[in-house]
Amino acid sequence: MTSLLVLTAVVASGHDVAIVDNRPQLVGTVQTKNGRGIASATIFVSTAGPREGIGVL
């Protein structure tokens, strides 16, 4: 079961990984091969799996 969830793109901001209610936020940068930030990128969660063990889906 693959689902796509849109995340907010965070491009070249200076914040570290934030923790809200002890649940981590997924933060990152989208860039070119040369390291230049890409604006207006859309990020989807393609698949999710358990940190430990193998997924059951």
Binding site: P24, L26, T32, T42, I43, F44, T47, I54, G55
Partner: protein, 366 residues
Amino acid sequence: MDPQLVFKLLVVAEGHVPTITKKPVDPQAGRATISLKPHDLDSRTDERIVKGRVVDEEGNAVPRAMIAPFGMKTGNSTRYGSLPDVDALVVSNEKGEFRIGVDKTGVGLLVKVDARYFARQNFGPLATDGATHTLTLNSGVNVVGSVRKNGKPLSGVVVGLAQQDRGVGTYVGDFKISTDELGEFLFLNVPANDRYTIYGLMQSCQPHGAIAVQPLTVGASGTTSSAGTLKVVPGYCLAGRVILTDGKDLPAGTHALVSRQNAWDFQTQQVNSDGTFQFDGLPEEQITLSARVRGYHISGRNRSFTPLNPFGLIGVVRQDIDELRLLLTPGPMKLDAYRRLSRTQRDEYQQRGNEPIEGAPAESKK
């Protein structure tokens, strides 16, 4: 994000190759950096591009529609699922236009189109022949209804809706919406002229009980269909143990899964170190129960095992189940065992799926 999960991400940006991260991204590992390659669409010939335009029923452009290829037709055969030679997803521009890069010629793409204020729809096959394919979306159907328990409205319950036909070319994915303070719900932009099941999601209903699947047929685009009142009834418990037949301990992180056969809904949980698990809030329905351990498969000694679906046990929950024994045995799963079944055997296995779900019988004591 769930701290127990890691994620593969799909990143899309104008002028760049849509990219799925090769390794899962761990939110707890700090900032992720994803690099995109420039796309070569401008230098390609038409034979390696699917071109199209997404419009509404009046022919107006639909910008920011997501176009996701899910199948590729080559000659008389069609491949579904992961398409390594095709852009994973593109987004239409302000004119509704899109281009999908395809590293093969003479093929047709099946695509799923999803845009805000419109019903999801599958199209195709779209040929790589230089033509600009026009994909027309409609607004779909509204579905209204309410959730009640003991005659009182229930707010904050998540209701699901899914097509009855799960054919890979037909299915567009499920829909979810929460009830409001009056216990009412409203689905917008549901694909028209189709048959659905509507149900309460187990995780959401658990504190109250369960809502079983109900059939629903919707009409033409622009109309509203009523699902009536969905009643919350007591849910059942399914508890048991995952057991390896060679007597070895289960590896850490082993998960069990319960999924509903006629709803797009499942529960998963990490089993305890002794293999025990417990799922609550199950409706009276046909379910599949499974667990995966590398190097093992579901044993045929489980009473609800069927070669027709070697991935799990299939059966119906009609009461609380306390001590189901789910046996896994060493060796690879036999995916093609169903081919050796006679028609009578297939019918028997089909019928077994309508009986109460059972694991393996307890070991006899000598």
